[in-house]
């Protein structure tokens, strides 16, 4: 291989050599970083998508919640957008609603566990809520049954009863696993 035996020019001017080196690194770096930057830019897209402000969603009517103080589970139905797909009137989650004897005010609890986000269910005895994932237990008003893995009580949601008896819940999601109720 004849070309291997040809002499290699030795750098004489160290300043010029430094410039060449720096330029080579910067040029090559710029060329390589361009696709990386484009990729990262698109990848970070979810961060700039702010969630629409929580709004009141009609869930049921007052008469559908027996006034016995026991929570009942209701699906929350709303239009939903998942990236490019729009879903009309889809179940997007669930709430527990309850009202006391003779009362017209409704208490609403999100069915999403504040511990790690599983779906909290009523215990088979009907005496408390229980999350099937890590055994967090909550009283019927959502309070923590100690000791619990959950850092906070079940998340209460704002709830109002319209004049026609319609029950509306302000649908919000909160960060799991933290002591404070911070909207997600």
């Amino acid at each position: 291989m004849a070309e291997q035996h040809r002499p290699v020019a030795h750098p004489v001017d160290s300043r010029r050599s430094f410039l060449t080196e720096a330029l080579a690194i910067v040029t090559g770096g710029l060329a390589t970083l361009t696709p990386v930057a484009a990729g990262v830019w698109a990848f970070l897209d979810p961060l700039r998508r702010t969630k629409a402000a929580a709004s009141y969603l009609p869930v049921t009517e007052l008469a559908a919640i027996p006034d016995d103080g026991l929570p009942r589970q209701f699906p929350v139905i709303a239009d939903r957008v998942d990236a490019w797909t729009g879903f009309a009137a889809e179940p997007i989650g669930a709430v527990y609603l309850r009202r006391a004897k003779g009362s017209d005010t409704v208490e609403a609890l999100s069915a999403t566990c504040p511990h790690a986000g599983c779906f909290v269910e009523m215990e088979s005895t009907g005496k408390c809520f229980r999350c099937p994932c890590h055994n967090s237990e909550f009283t019927l008003d959502g309070g923590i049954v100690a000791p619990s893995p959950s850092p906070r009580p079940m998340d209460a949601l704002e709830c109002r009863v319209a004049e026609n008896g319609g029950v509306e819940v302000r649908w919000q999601k909160f960060r799991a696993g933290v002591a404070d109720k911070v909207e997600q």
Binding site: P58, E61, G93, C133, N135, S148, N164
Partner: protein, 682 residues
């Protein structure tokens, strides 16, 4: 560099010359030599196979993964669907997916063995520190691929496990919430959660893994094999002795994986049962549904110890979760990374070995605890707790009442409370077992529906499940109807107690001749299965059945049977058959203003509505939907309606309790009308 002797070329055949041609231009012979003639100190040994089996497992994952990729579609509406298609419709799809699924598990086991061996043999010490660190990074990449792969079928278990995993990522201080948002591709789980997990699973992570693996292997070659002392035999080359041992180990790993996939088929064949290959290998659950609780949510078995670890911090609040999910696992990894340095100290190596064995034992213990909690009800001695259960039912679980019931005897109270704790454990375990059973049923139904000749609709599988009367009927009934109505086969063992507790009719078999026969039975009509627990108990119908139908001069046995079958014919349930003349006779009796028609409208008999239900089309889909929409309508109970809500009537400007579609699902379910595969597969 080896030089090819060109002078020999004349004597060589075509292949020899071709080989020379390529070797001249690539130097492949030297490469092959380099690869195969690695010196193995002390000769080939079985204990050196573990690293190779791991490379083999990874290659298996790459190969099966690429072929799965060729058939997989990552979106919320196509992921489950495409995996279903791979598993149940594509020839060999079940085997491909089964190998990928179980080899992933084998890889985790092999990884643990490899790590144990490296630590115990002290192979992490100088000069191999960097390679040990690379190994730990490789381990995390493998676990990352396991975690991301679990979601890809987009079934219930993968979905809920991912919710937990990503929520845990969200508690990392500072960057947690942003990290979570980036990983799930927004604030909600959906298309972009799948596309991102898939890109991680099949692109980023394996790419990084291959890079690390190349360095890991070249460093391994640079330092040579860490030989187990003492060396008694002479050194040998990697090829062929060690390669043969490695190959045998690889085949053994593959045999175990195939065994796990095929044993259920063998069992079925031995029992003479048909084998449905779609059910071999990896499981596919029901499609992910954010609105449907999934109480059987568990991570893959090798992550169970982490899952259980979170429960250890009960009562620690947010600190506990932070410790359990981030700090402690982080510290453990930190210590492992420091092992090569710790190993330099006098007792360092012993510490490292003890630490690693301790972690493995701890993980094993936590896994056993998790399994024991979930399956406790299977082996708990329930008979020994019968007295405790009785007392629990009597006192309603109230501790004060318990103290009173036991006369304040402290020892007895403590003993009973211990038993109550066991009862609670059984309840929790039973809830998990029931949920697992339900999950299996839901999965089977989804797979059955997906196999319809009409295929899966554009909207996806979830849409199909949500409009399936067989799956949704029981849920809607439980939520909206079961607080009053029973739904239990009267022949079932527990039927009597269930029916007695209900405050409205048992709707099992509603519309059938058997149901109608019970209604027209003087002994049953005022019983709890019909009007017994309702306001109609003393109503005209009960009075009629008990006092007039018993008059055998007017109502011959045949007459009543004719009415029964004619009514069943109105409902027209599948499987109900009656002789046409008898039905015609029954219709006449029903319409007659001297018989049923004196109160009931039937077809064009002219009886006014408002006194009793219109029997035209009784029990038909339209009739059932009508009565659920509004039982106070004059066609049904009118003013005499007892407690039943008008589920389909909306208050002005409001929502009805149930949508039309939901009511139709209940009606179809009560009538037993849902998709059934035309013929059983075999």
């Amino acid at each position: 560099m080896k030089h090819t002797n060109h002078g020999d070329a004349v004597q060589k055949g075509v292949f020899g010359r071709l080989a020379d041609f390529f070797d001249d231009r690539t130097g492949y012979r030297a490469l092959m030599h380099e690869a195969l003639y690695e010196r193995v100190p002390g000769g080939a040994r079985w204990r050196y196979v573990w690293g190779s089996t791991l490379v083999f497992a990874f290659m298996t994952q790459v190969i099966t993964g690429l072929f799965l990729w060729a058939s997989y579609s990552a979106s919320a509406q196509t992921a489950w669907e495409s995996v279903y298609y791979i598993q149940h419709e594509m020839a060999g799809g079940w085997l491909l997916r089964g190998i990928h699924h179980f080899m992933a598990q084998a890889m985790v086991v092999l990884l643990a063995l490899h790590l144990l061996q490296v630590v115990i043999d002290g192979a992490y010490k100088a000069p191999r520190e960097v390679n040990f660190w690379l190994g730990l990074i490789l381990m995390m990449l493998v676990l990352g691929m396991a975690l991301t792969g679990y979601l890809l079928p987009w079934d219930q278990k993968g979905y809920w496990a991912t919710i937990v995993a990503t929520n845990l990522a969200g508690i990392v201080p500072g960057i947690g919430p942003s990290l979570q948002q980036l990983v799930i591709g927004g604030s909600e789980y959906g298309h972009h959660t799948l596309t991102r997990f898939f890109a991680l699973h099949a692109g980023f992570l394996p790419g990084a893994l291959i890079l690390m693996l190349v360095i890991h292997l070249s460093l391994f070659r640079k330092h040579g094999l860490h030989a187990k002392q003492p060396i008694t035999k002479p050194d040998a080359m990697f090829w062929p002795d060690q390669v043969l041992r490695d190959a045998v180990a690889m085949l053994a790993v593959m045999a175990v994986v195939l065994g796990v996939i095929l044993v259920p088929a063998l069992r079925a064949m031995l029992a003479g049962e048909p084998v449905d290959v779609g059910h071999l290998g990896a499981e596919l659950g029901a499609p992910a549904d954010p609105s449907l609780p999934y109480a059987a949510a568990r991570p893959e078995w090798y992550f169970l110890f982490l899952f259980q670890f979170l429960k250890v911090f009960e009562g620690w609040g947010a600190t506990g979760e932070f410790l359990g999910a981030i700090v402690v696992p982080g510290l453990i990894m930190g210590v492992m990374f420091l092992m090569p340095i710790i190993g330099n100290w006098k007792l360092g190596h012993r510490f490292n070995v003890a630490f690693t064995l301790g972690i493995v034992a701890g993980a094993g213990l936590l896994t056993a605890m998790a399994l024991n909690e979930d399956y406790y009800a299977l082996w708990a001695d329930k008979a020994a707790l019968a007295d405790a259960q009785k007392l629990y039912d009597e006192t309603g679980g109230d501790e004060e009442k318990l103290a009173a019931a036991l006369g304040g005897d402290k020892a007895k109270i403590t003993a009973m409370e211990a038993k109550w704790e066991k009862l609670e454990k059984i309840r929790h375990s039973q809830a998990f077992l029931d949920a697992s059973k339900q999950a299996t049923l839901d999965a089977a139904r989804a797979i059955e529906l997906a196999g319809r000749p009409e295929k899966i609709p554009t909207a996806g599988m979830l849409e199909l499940v949500r409009t399936d009367a067989k799956s949704q009927g029981p849920r809607l009934f439980a939520q909206h109807c079961a607080s009053c109505h029973a739904y239990v086969d009267p022949q079932a063992a527990e039927a009597a107690s269930v029916i007695a507790k209900a405050s409205a009719a048992n709707l099992h078999g509603f519309g059938s001749a058997a149901w109608m026969r019970g209604l027209l039975d003087p002994d049953q009509v005022a019983g709890p299965a019909y009007f017994g627990n309702t306001a109609h108990k003393d109503g005209d119908m009960v009075n009629f059945v008990q006092n007039e139908l018993t008059d055998t001069d007017t109502w011959k046995k045949d007459d009543i049977e004719a009415v029964v079958v004619a009514m069943a014919a109105e409902a027209g349930l599948a499987g109900e058959k009656a002789a046409e003349p008898l039905v015609a006779k029954g219709r006449e009796l029903i319409a007659s203003d001297e018989r049923c028609g004196s109160c009931h409208r039937f077809r064009d008999n002219g009886t006014d509505l408002g006194t009793a239900c219109d029997l035209t089309g009784w029990g038909s889909r339209e009739w059932l939907v009508g009565i659920i929409v509004d039982p106070t309508h004059e066609r049904f109970y009118g003013d005499t309606n007892d407690r039943m809500p008008s589920f389909g009537k909306a208050p002005e400007g409001g929502l009805p309790r149930l949508t039309r579609a939901q009511i139709e699902l209940i009606a179809d379910w009560l009538r037993g009308e849902w998709y059934r595969p035309a013929v059983a597969a075999h």
